[in-house]
Amino acid sequence: MKKKGDTAWQMIVLGLLAAAMVVSLMIPESLLTPAGPKRVEISILLRQGDSAVWATARQGMEQAAEDLGAELRFLTLEAEEGADQVELLRRQADMGVDAAVVIPADCAALEQQLDGWQALPVVTLESQVEGARAFVGPSDEELGRLLAEQAARGCAVSGEVLLWNAFPGCAGPARRLESAKAALEAAGYAPRVCEKLTAEQLEQADAVLCFEPVSLEQAAALAAQCETPPRVYGAGVSSTVVAALETGDIAAVAAWSDYAAGYLAVSQAVNAARRQPVESKTLPVTLVQEGETYDQDHQKLLYPVFP
């Protein structure tokens, strides 16, 4: 009797194993493969008028989103108000967004919001902000010094050097400005900081230094209208900046790869959303002077391959 029971059990186990074998062939591979990391939602908060300037960075962001499984939401401020950006950021947190990449409009307001705020991990571009999980961009001090040195080469010590602080609320450009100012003063120059730039000012200036591409585009455009235009130097590139650099409206640009900046910013945001280690990334800076835009290495930096 016991033997018969044992045989029955053995037959049952055999049947189950045979069924398991058949089922293992029928189960779709996707069910067995562990699902990849969950898609995360990242909001990109741009300033008003940034869209064209950050076009290349956007390509990098989209590439990173594709590689890392993220969904991007590009949001542009309607007014250049830091409070609006903070409010927009708060709303993103309320909507359940996993992380945000912010180009700060007002660093102080953003810092105040991020102080002790854990609702949403934030990665900043252009300006390093206290409380943000990471920052991606060039070294502001190095960039300012590089521009100052370049301006000093093309301008006499007695010459008028204007430092345009177009976005006083942005810490990154402000730091670059401070660095450039210090370097110029150390070299014997007496640079003047202005928050508004006019054609009259340009007429009298020998050199103008801008510290982000939006103001650089505007300065180049203004300088082009001058009878005796000053030499324009700036930080960051856009297609307009590159065109001005080619024509000589801009004397030199401290450039970095916006594509890399966008890619790294989103990848750090994704890491933060997935509670993985996050670190700030400093991008290397290359000085491109007028007429050098088609140098082989500069082409790769200034002209995206897949526009």
Partner: protein, 605 residues
């Protein structure tokens, strides 16, 4: 250390093996061999499958590369045809002084505008002769300083392909830029009848190459890229990331590889690299498939292999269990039968089953057991016969001895005229013999045995002139019992010879019979000389010589007869003290008639 561990393992295995049933040994052996075989075959198949998979992937990569090469070749040929058309149809036989072929160039451009960015002709100084669709050079543009220009003039027989670069010669209306690959060739221009060198430039759009390569699929994680002969990237799906310095590619090493499939390790990752050279250009298509993508160990494969392995092992265990049981069951039944037979039982009937050898073994064992039984029965019968004959011999030893003595006494009485005593003696002798015969029975009633003792003593008293008295006493519970015949008489004879021979007229011999439980005791006591207790104890010692005189042999005969009949527990005992006399005690089992005829009591030999 290892040797000792191996020895210990072997010893433990041997001990386990010795305790194992044949079924388990067969089952485990079959299973182990089958599983080892299955694993070996499985491993071989997996390795083979893996190798075939890699080979197939290499073939697939080569096919994909061949397809891309075909598309790229078609694309490049089309551009080259444009270049040929411009040169051979528009420039070679035309005198530029009579008119520029700008319209024809424009038409040609329009026909191929999806692939082309510009067509331009330069003289040997780098001055623009004509072009389409853009005819105005940028300020500061210096074609003569560009690589494609000097290469075309330096190697005049060939069409030259540049690496991708931004087209920087012509003004664009919207300030846009184009990544192009430049085809340049040296051309002969005729101007006012004079021939001069020039350079024909056809800028093809880089996006054309990108479109050909972009949707190429090489396995799950594979990709394709193009390098020129110097290792410069022409196309890469992550070209912008590489330009931005975020990703590296092993393009320099790939440019040195020959066509075919290769293996490389790059940034810690092993990859299958397939290379195919593109005609005319010196470019190389490079297909990269990470080994991880070639692995056959997908989750489904692992699950399938695991379930097949489990099923196979369990099936093997199951089938081998059945098979070994089928082989071993007849042997086990035979072993049980032999064990039962060994315990003294009958050998049970074992059904005839199993293989030939087992059947033969079962037949042989059955035949052997039968033979052994017959032999044992024969031995028992022979032992019985031997004992019986020995008993009969012992009994027969008494008769001539006693008969001689008695007849000697009768002769002596008759000669001396003591006829009354003579008659009494003969009468007693006759009755004594009648009891002795007892129709051949070995066991007689105790009463007859006592009568026999009485008749004997009657004869002996006459012989010894009543020098001693004789009395028999018995307890009532001994009535109706049985005993071996002629066991008291030798003791009486011994008492007479050793106890009474030296006495004067006050000798006394007494026989007392009593019962204790299942035992019957018969004491024959005399008041003769007696002997030391150790001498008495040694009377029955077969190793000691018999006394020269007396019935020593008769006493030993009685003892042996009793022990032969009823076992070593029974027999004679002697109690004696010098000058006090001797008591010979017969110890017998209680025998009834039934027991006498039925055979033996418990414990009997």
């Amino acid at each position: 250390m290892l040797l000792r561990a191996l020895r210990e393992l072997r010893s433990r295995f041997s001990r386990s093996y010795e305790r194992m049933s044949i079924q388990r040994v067969i089952s485990l052996t079959f299973t182990a061999v089958a599983v080892a075989g299955a694993l070996f075959i499985g491993l071989s198949l997996t390795l083979r499958y893996s190798a075939v998979n890699q080979k197939m992937q290499a073939q697939a990569s080569q096919q994909v590369l061949a397809q891309v090469n075909l598309s790229l070749d078609n694309h490049l040929r089309r551009i080259m045809r444009v270049s040929d058309t411009v040169y051979y149809r528009l420039l070679k036989n035309a005198d530029l002084a009579e008119g520029l072929p700008t319209d024809s160039l424009s038409l040609l451009y329009e026909e191929n505008r999806d692939s082309l960015v510009s067509i331009a002709v330069f003289d040997s100084d780098g001055n623009l002769v004509t072009g389409a669709p853009l005819s105005e050079l940028k300020a500061g543009a210096d074609p003569a300083s560009q690589g494609w220009f000097s290469t075309a003039l330096g190697q005049i027989e060939n069409i030259h392909f540049s690496t991708p670069h931004v087209q920087d010669l012509f003004q664009t209306a919207d300030g846009s830029y184009h990544w192009v690959i430049s085809l340049s060739r040296q051309v002969q221009l005729t101007r006012g009848g004079a021939s001069e060198s020039g350079v024909l430039l056809v800028d093809m759009s880089f996006s054309g190459v990108e479109q050909i390569c972009r949707n190429t699929s090489l396995g799950a994680d594979g990709y394709l890229y193009i390098v020129d002969a110097n290792g410069e990237l022409i196309y890469h799906p992550r070209q912008q990331l590489i330009y931005a310095g975020l990703v590296q590619e092993n393009n320099l090493a790939a440019s040195r590889l020959s066509d075919g499939t290769h293996w490389e390790k790059f940034q810690g990752e092993r990859r299958q690299v397939t290379v195919k050279t593109v005609g005319y250009t010196g470019w190389k298509l490079v297909g990269v498939v990470p080994v991880q993508g070639l692995a056959v160990t997908t989750a489904q494969f692992v699950l399938f292999v695991a379930s097949v392995l489990l099923f196979s092992i369990f099936l093997l265990v199951f089938v081998n269990g059945r098979l070994s049981a089928h082989i071993a069951d007849p042997i086990r039944r035979l072993e049980q039968a032999v064990r039962q037979t060994g315990r003294g039982g009958e050998m049970p009937q074992v059904p005839e089953e199993g293989c030939y050898e087992v059947r033969r073994l079962e037949h042989s064992i059955r035949s052997m057991v039968s033979t052994m039984r017959h032999l044992m029965d024969d031995i028992i019968q022979q032992e019985e016969d031997k004992r019986r004959s020995e008993l009969e011999v012992l009994q027969s030893q008494i008769n001539p001895h006693f008969l001689y003595n008695t007849l000697d006494s009768v002769i002596w009485l008759t000669e001396s005229g003591r006829y009354e005593d003579s008659i009494r003696m003969v009468t007693a002798l006759g009755r004594l013999f009648r009891i002795s015969l007892s129709r051949g029975k070995r066991v007689i009633p105790l009463d007859s045995e006592l009568d026999h003792a009485g008749y004997y003593m009657t004869i002996q008293r006459i012989r010894y002139k009543n020098k001693f008295t004789f009395e028999i006493s018995r307890e009532t519970d001994t009535a109706g019992l049985y005993c071996l015949k002629l066991i008291i008489q030798p003791l009486l004879e011994n008492a007479i010879y050793h106890g009474m021979a030296a006495e004067d007229d006050d000798g006394r011999i007494a026989v007392r019979v009593w019962r204790e439980g299942d035992d019957v005791y018969i004491d024959v006591t005399d008041n003769g000389l007696g002997m030391l207790p150790e001498v008495a104890a040694s009377l029955l010692d077969e190793s000691r010589p018999l006394p020269a005189k007396g019935s020593g042999i008769g006493v030993r005969n009685v003892h042996r007869r009793i022990q032969l009949a009823y076992g070593p527990r029974y027999g004679l005992e002697f109690y004696s003290e010098p000058d006090e006399g001797t008591t010979a005690r017969i110890h017998l089992p209680v025998l009834t008639q039934l027991e006498e005829t039925g055979g033996k009591k418990e414990g009997m030999a």
